[in-house]
Structures are given as C-alpha cells and as structure tokens.
C-alpha cells in the first residue's frame, strides 16, 4: 500500500529534480496499478462461464443473429488480441459500451459514481466528526464507563451487518415513524427536476436554488449516510483510541504535564498532533472503502451507485461495465493515496 510509503529519498538533490522524479514515479505507479488491474479483471471476466452474447441477443435469437453479435464483439479473436484491442481503446478514453444498458460505460459510470460519492463523503464526514472525538475521549478516559460505552458502540458498528441495520432502520424510521424519507435519492416524482451538474443531488439542488428538493434529498440521504457513517465511525474511533493511547504513554506527555500544561493542550496539541498522520491513513482507507460502493446498502436504499452497478454488471457478464467501474474505483484508490501523501507533508514536519 503506497499510503504507508513516506519515503524521503532524493532529498539532497535539487528540489526540482526531486519533484520531477516524484511525479514521474507516481505516474508510473498509477499506470502499473491500472494495467495490472485491467489485466486481472479482463482475464477473470473472460473465464467466467457466462455468455455475454446471450446478454445482448436474448433467449430467442437465431444462430445467425447470435453469430453477428459474437463477431461484432470480437469474441472470435484470441484472448490476448482481445485484451490489446481493449487496452488500445481504453488508452484513447473509450471504455466501450455496456452490454446491459447499451450506453457507453463512461456515461454510465459518471452517472452512478457521483451518487456513491455523495453518500460516501457524507458517511465519512459523520465517521470523522463523531469517531475521532469519541476515540480521543475513550483514550483519555481509559477504563471509565465512557471508554466502555465507546467500545461497545464501536463493536456493534463492526459486527452488525450494515444491510441488517439498513433494513431495520428503514422499517422503523421510515416505515413506522416517518421521520426520514424512504429509498431513493429524492421522492420519485421529484426526480430529474434539477439539472445534473455534478451528479450529486445535494449540490445540484443548491446550484439550482431549489430548496424543496434539497431538503427532500437530505431527508433521503440521512439514513443511509448515517449507517455508513456509523460503520466508518466504529473503525475510526477504535483506531483513534489506540493511536492516542500509544502517544499518551510517551514520556513527552508526562513532561508536558509536569511542565503544568493544561490537560486540553496536552491531549489535543501534543498527543493528537502526533497521531494526525496515521489517522489520515485510516480515514483515507475508510473513505476509499465507502467509495467502492457499499453494495448491500445501495441495493436496500435503491441508491443508483457504483457498487450496485458493478455487481449487477458482473452477474450479467457485462465485462465492459465491470472493467470501466473497476478502473474508476482503482483510480479513486490511487488518487486518495496520493492525496493522503500530500497531507502527510502538511502535517508531518519531517516530511517537508
């Protein structure tokens, strides 16, 4: 995982050379990762015992119609030739067409990814803003009832299947109490009213200044985002707690306390200041995990996101769609890694 790679090679050379080298090696990493990803996905997809031609022509096609599509897809060519043709197209930005939807994969992915991104971002924000303080408090109040409660909350978050919580949440909060809105991103009859700019309804409705739709969208997203947030909170709070405990046991903390610093400053300035870097890694990983799309949550909430898209495509042998989706998820992972590395440089004085 490149996330942990805080290497500081080449520091003695000229800074420009260092930057160029760093950029070059980053790009190379991206290229190699993507190529490997495509290669593996492609060959796994081709050995699956599902016939993509049947997905297109359907059950009633004649042999002649079947062969037309078979040849059109280039399935008669050797596997490696097929892979290189595909690779050539991808390099030119053409991910092919989804067999299942008939749309260019790129159009599909850019339609479904913002939906996942909206949900994952909100979920991660909830996870960070509740999980980090919870973890810090649990560490500081170690062994007290606060610590116990925090532990149990986190354990439940870990161990309770998110889809189960989702169903219960929907039944109670939407079905019985009516406090939140149901599945979908907005009420069905409000769909397609605000023009799609970013693909994220919360942002699009702000751009369009359509507050009815904005609040409607909020009432729809709050439950799934809270659930994903809870899941990410559980992880983040546990990690924060253990990072903090490690720091709080260090001698410099004792020194700071002896010096008469306020407990607030000891905890937040000294100890917390030192866990920022590993915490960024944890948050970035958790965010990346949510961005892959939480398939079950997306299915239960009828959320048209990328997890659901890739899963359904896979089941119908729609390999163009699977690969397009995989590439996007892979890219997101790599970009988040790079972003996390940039953050290290800001927060870790040694990395400057």
């Amino acid at each position: 995982m490149a996330i942990a790679d805080t290497s500081r090679k080449g520091r003695r050379r000229s800074p420009l050379f260092g930057i160029a080298k760093k950029t070059g090696s980053t790009l190379l990493t991206i290229a190699v990762t993507m190529l490997g990803l495509l290669f593996v996905t492609f060959f796994i997809g081709r050995v699956m015992p599902v016939d993509p031609v049947l997905s297109i022509v359907g059950e009633r096609a004649t042999q002649e119609q079947y062969m037309d599509v078979y040849l059109e897809l280039g399935l008669d060519k050797p596997l490696f030739t097929q892979f290189f043709i595909y690779l050539g197209d991808v390099v030119q930005g053409d991910f092919g067409k989804s067999l299942r939807t008939g749309f260019p994969v790129w159009d599909d992915v850019t339609r479904v990814f913002p939906a996942t991104m909206e949900l994952a971002t909100l979920g991660t924000l909830i996870g960070v803003f509740i999980g980090v303080p919870l973890g810090v408090i649990a560490a500081v109040k170690r062994g007290t009832w606060i610590d116990q409660v925090a532990r149990v909350v986190a354990l439940i978050g870990y161990s309770m299947p998110v889809f189960w919580l989702a169903i219960i949440g929907l039944m109670v909060l939407y079905g019985k109490l009516g406090w939140v809105s149901g599945p979908g991103r907005v009420d069905i009859f409000l769909e397609d009213i605000v023009p799609s700019v970013t693909g994220m309804i919360l942002i699009d409705s702000i751009i369009a200044r359509d507050w009815d739709i904005f609040w409607n969208a909020v009432s729809h997203i709050i439950l799934p985002a809270s659930l994903l947030g809870y899941y990410s909170l559980a992880y983040i709070s546990r990690m924060t707690r253990s990072f903090m405990l490690e720091q709080l046991g260090e001698e410099y903390i004792t020194t700071a306390r002896v010096k008469g610093m306020s407990e607030w400053a000891v905890v937040w300035k000294h100890a917390f200041g030192n866990i920022k870097v590993p915490l960024i890694t944890v948050i970035a990983l958790s965010y990346a995990g949510l961005l892959e799309g939480s398939v079950l949550t997306e299915i239960i909430f009828s959320w048209p996101g990328i997890g659901k898209y890739i899963t359904i495509s896979l089941l119908s042998a729609d390999m163009n769609a699977v690969m397009g989706g995989t590439v996007v998820v892979g890219l997101v992972f790599v970009l988040l890694n790079i972003f996390a590395e940039l953050l290290y440089k800001i927060f870790d004085p040694r990395a400057k």
């Binding site: 809105s181 979908g184 009859f189």
Partner: protein, 532 residues
Amino acid sequence: MNALRSTIFSAAVILAAGVSIAPAIAATPDNMLIIAAQIDDITTLDPAQSFEFSGSDVNRNLYTKLVGFDPADLSAGYIPALAESWTVSEDGKTITFTMREGVTFESGNPVTAQDAEWSLRRVITLNKTPSFILSQFGFTAENIGETIVADGNTITITTDKRYATSFVLNCLTAVVGSIIDSKTAMENEIDGDLANEWLRTHSAGSGAYTLGSWKPNESVTLIANNDFFRGAPAMQRVIVRNIQESATQRLLLENGDIDVARNLNPEDVAGASRVDGIEVDSELRGRLMYISMNQKSEILSNPLVIEAIKYLIDYEGMQNSFLNGQYTIHQAFLPATYLGEIDDVPFTLDVEKAKALLAEAGYADGFEVAIVVREAQERIEIAQSLQNTFGQAGITVNITVGTGKQILGVYRAREHDIYVGAWGPDYPDPNTNAGTFAFNPDNSDEAGATGLLAWRNSWGIPEMSEATLAAVVENDRDTRAAMYEAIQREHQQTSPFAVMFQKIEQTGRSENVQGLNLGGAITAVSYWNVTK
C-alpha cells in the same frame, strides 16, 4: 447490560440525525402515476429490437400499431388502431389496411401509410432478435420492396403463403408492429442505422405517452401525449422506478410514496393486503413454468420414464405453498385465455404409479439425474420440491444452480438433463408457443435451432411439426382451435415437457388508482385509462 445501553446509544445517534426531516404525510401528486417495478431488463426501446417484458410495457404506451387491443376489454381480441379497416385477398395471402385519417405522431407529423411501410420494412432490414415475428411470413430484406407496400393511404402486406388472418394480425400487435415516425427517425439516423441508436433512448410514436427519459436500471418517465387519437390520458406523467426488493416496494407503497408495486412476493402481498387503502389485484399472465428432459439422455428418452416423471411432480403442493397466489396449475403449452387453450390436468403427484412405470422401464432402483436451474428463488424451490418427490421413487437428483445466462448457455447447447424453465409468449397467437414447444422438423446438431424449445431438448418431431404448420394456415377459427387442442393433448402425454404452472401477477396498488390493466396473458400494461 452494556450491550443494551449501547444499543440504545447507537439508536440515539442515528435517530438524532434523522428526526422528523420527512414530510408528515407522503402522497403522490394527483395527475402522476408512480410505479415500483423491476425494470433492469430493458436494454433498448427501439421497437425493432426491444424484446424484454419491461420494454414491452414501455412500448405499449409509446407506440400504436396497425391493430391493437382495448385495455378495458382484452377478451375482444385485436381491434382497429392506426388501421381503420382491412381487407383480405381471395387467396388469403394479401392484406390491405386503410389508414385512419387525422392521427399525428408526437412530433406533429401525420401518421401515413408510408410510415407504416417504413416501420415494418425496417424490422426486416435490421434483423434483430424479435424480427422473426414478422419474418416468419416470408418477408426478407430482398422481397420487402414487393411484399410490404404503401399506396396512398393504404398499406398492403403479402405473405409467402396463406396464413390464418388472425395469426398475421395477432403478430402485428406485437412490439415489432409499432408504427414509427419515419421523418423524425431518419433525421436522427447515424451511419445508415435506420435510427436504431437514436430510437434506443427516444420515442417517435403516436401512443398515449411520449418518452420523458429512460435511465437504465433506474427509471422510465413517460409524459402524456394529449393529442392521442383515443383521447388524452388522465395521468400526465408516469414514472416507473426500478426497485429490486419486494420488501422495499411494499414499504414505499404502504407509506404512499408509490401508487403501484409490481413485484411483491407472497409474504409482502399478504402483509400489504391487510393495510387500509391498499388493494391487491391478481391478473393471469402468459408466462408458463415447465420442466423439460433432454432426449439425448438414454434414460430420459424412455417414454415410460417421461411419463413417470410427470407423476412425480407435486403440482398442488407447490401451488399451495411457495407459489401461493403467484402461479396456478396449468399443464398445456398454450396459456389460458389463448385460442385453443385446454384446461386438462391429467397429472397429479402419484408416487406408486410412477414407481410402477419406472419398474416397467427397467429402473426399479431409480437412477441419478441432474436438474439445472437459474438462481431465482421460486425456481430453486421448484427444483428442491422435485428433488424430494423424485427421491421418493428412487431417483437421485443433483441440483445445479447458476445465473440465468449460464444456465441458458447450457440449455441452448443441449447439455442439460432436466431443465426448470419459464416461457412467455412473444405475440398473442397460439403459434407463439406451438411453434417452439411442438415444432422441430430437423433435430440434428447442425440445424442449430436454438430458438426452439423442442430442439433444445433434442426432441425430433416431424409429424407434430407438420400438424403445427397446418394449424397456422387454417383460417376457420373453430377448426384452428380444435387443431391446437389436439396437438396439446398429444403433447401432454408424449412430450419431454411437463408444463406445470401459469403465472398470476399480483399487483399492490393504492385504492384510489383505477383502471390499471397489465395486459393479461396477451399484451403489456397500458396507462392510458388509469385514473386516480
């Protein structure tokens, strides 16, 4: 104690985030119909290519055909639609339709005989999967210049031989019979594709609705065409939202966020029907559930074994348990409500009789057999029921479950033993099923007739194929019906098919929704006469 406390805490976290953001009472607007359904099967809306259930549901509201059905009275059969009347030539091969005057497409262009000619010829030229519905009358890319011809306000179609007129007209009610606005379509042609790409995501018809949008796996939005020649629809907007889960559909219905839920399973039907303001409709559809035995197998091609297996199916047990309300027992290949239907039920579960037949066949100790089934809950449950009842007669069943596409691949390659299948009619004429269950003139592997169910099961039937062909050209309605009845009675006894059930579709709807008709066994849903 800790666990309890923290459960309360976690609930509080979630609750606090979501308190009362939703409006108090949800209700859909009065002039909109909101439907939850599984519509992820749609891959195109081009009438020359669309061939899925959900696609047909959309098509019926966007396009009008030369002849059609009255949604309020399906039993009346086909009635004039864009064709006002028609005449049949002496030799029965030529039908001349006179077009209705004053009808316009959604673009405002008038509907002409030329549009009809263009649309029907286009189906043959594009040669997509459903094109056989028209090409079975002998139309080819080479002869459509003479066989499908517009002249003034009439259009004449000439078939290669004499067919029952009802057969031809029934086929013209199918999706491929849609009349498209040729001017608008051709303005959007790309590289000589006859607008195949454009019509995939756009409509150019003269139906009660126009296409607002289709987002794959998400939703279809229809906008009322207030110039529709039979009158403007009451519902100005119809939105069909793809909701996979039955439980979710029910939840939305009970909360008033949707008007109609189309895929409720038996438990949710039972639950929803107890709620005030919700009604459940049951409508008989055309889909049949059957099992078939591959005749390449030495054991399964033994007539005694075939008969024994038909006595080893617990028809009633399945109907009354997991298929409750969703399927009804039906043992012939023509769905009820079709011309020539029979309601004979010669087979019931009779283990002793089956054992005797197996002993007579030389399999007193049973044998081992594989059942392939796709991963749909009801089909797996059927396979398990078969495993149980077959076992009572000493037949050991291995069940192989796979995705629909995997299993279909095996079936088309004739590599199965026993297949659990479903079959829906393609057009509302008895030949749609007779032509596949009871027609296979060339059983060789080279024939590759993968579209024929009889071929897929390696069941060569030269004589029955003749009988099926004869029924297709018989013009007297009663004689034709009698011919199908005879074929089905023989088929029931001798074929390697055990037809078991016919589909009943249960729809949950808000009680203020009136006039929704799903299309019965013969056609698709119509929103035109729905009111709220």
